[in-house]
Symmetry: C2
Subunit: 265 residues, 2 copies
């Protein structure tokens, strides 16, 4: 049976609330996800929360009931609560009806089967959590094998990244790696490394992509270091006709990924 928490001063509420900070996520090995759609997608991908907070008036919804049942079956904690607590947990004025607290999961390069997909996404020093989540969501849509985060990227388990991923964090494998380790792994098998760059004349539509294609996107403000670009098999450019000569990193990644997908289908 679910228990009920309605007091701000409840120690579990206080503890869960701290998971909006990376330090506490690391200490606890836990992170927050919110929204019935996202939690249901997680459940379908085999991820159930350790703690499930749900609004009392949502308990009759079949998908909420299914979540509660599965969480309790697996020894998790289903907690009936109110909008104020949900708002406090998620940091949003209009909170979703459910918030889940999940164990962090990480994968290693060696666990990836590169023959499983024609497109793989690689991002280096990605700083914006919204961009990270959006790239994961695009990765889900193009059927990418995974997202490989190189160097000092934003935390994929941050509330903003999880929110922007719309559940794709649970469906698209994420690996964090150093550049050297990634290159060594990449060169140990088939794979074309394609870098997005402004310093090339190769139009992204004229280039030809060979599966598995690893699409490398550089830092939002500075692009990728020269030696990273030099290690690519191919550098391509997305044409920009405007004043700014820049695209949002998640947008550029998506435009590229959909070109590769179109060629590979």
């Amino acid at each position: 049976m679910p228990r009920e928490i309605t007091a701000f001063s409840n120690p579990l509420v206080k503890r869960i609330r701290t998971l909006r900070e990376k330090k506490h996520r690391r200490d606890e090995g836990l992170f927050l996800a919110e929204g019935l759609r996202v939690l249901t997608e997680a459940r379908e991908a085999g991820h159930l929360p350790q703690y499930l907070f749900f609004a009392a008036d949502s308990a009759a919804h079949p998908l909420v009931r299914a979540l509660i049942a599965d969480v309790e079956d697996r020894g998790g904690d289903a907690i009936e609560t109110n909008a104020d607590i949900l708002s406090k947990l998620s940091g949003k004025d209009n909170p979703q009806a459910v918030v889940g607290v999940y164990e962090e999961f990480t994968r290693t390069l060696d666990s990836l089967d590169r023959t499983r997909a024609g497109i793989w996404l690689v991002a280096e020093r990605l700083r914006d959590p919204g961009n990270l989540g959006t790239i994961l969501r695009t990765g889900d849509a193009v059927g990418a094998g995974g997202l490989i985060l190189i160097g000092d990227c934003v935390d994929p388990f941050s509330v903003e990244a999880v929110r922007a991923s719309m559940g794709a964090l649970f469906t698209v494998p994420v690996v964090q790696s150093g550049w050297g380790d990634f290159l060594q792994w990449l060169r140990g098998g088939p794979g074309q490394l394609v870098g997005l760059s402004l310093d090339t004349t190769h139009d992204y539509r004229a280039a030809r992509y060979a599966a598995p294609t690893f699409l490398l996107t550089g830092n939002e403000a500075r692009g990728m270091p020269e030696d990273y670009a030099a290690a690519c098999d191919l550098l391509v450019k997305i044409p920009m006709l405007g004043k700014a000569d820049s695209l949002n990193a998640a947008v550029a990644t998506a435009v590229m990924a959909y070109e590769v997908l179109a060629q590979q289908r």
Copy 2:
């Protein structure tokens, strides 16, 4: 000569700070933009701030000096200040070196010359300011004639939208319109209205686009109303291979816009 403000209690600082809320932007007809790159792009597009706040230690930068000179030439107010005040104005912990306060500008449909560009972006009930700004940035990159906002969209002059646009708010014309007025204007001249939809079998890569193409993107959560879809000349679908069957609205707009651009070049 610039004057100096370093007190939080300064009435102008208090007043400018309120511009982060839409109500106050409307009352004052003013909005905030930040960052040297954005303010310089605005200046090159002919927009100068009424108030320019700059960090004392940035005053030697040639682009900051150029901004100060132009603002003062035009009777504006250049104000030397510190990081704390800039942080207070922009709402960011690590503020940019310059913050500008600009007069809001709006355009009407009748002011648009549809023959000027092959691609026009149309968004209905866009709710996320980051998406709006990102779509403007993409619009700049693909050389779009403008962005037409239909119905109850988020404010393009919100701090988050301006920030995400990276200056494109100043270079890409934005019009706000009702659906009926838009349709009437559209049908008064050439123009193919193309809607992004999940309920069609037309692949976006197989379709053919005729300039000027008006790309219609629906609300982030619900897509576009049926009668909007029915009014389109063509509905197209971006393939999604994943679990979620959804893309970020700004990403979907960009993937479409780049396909149209590739066909029209």
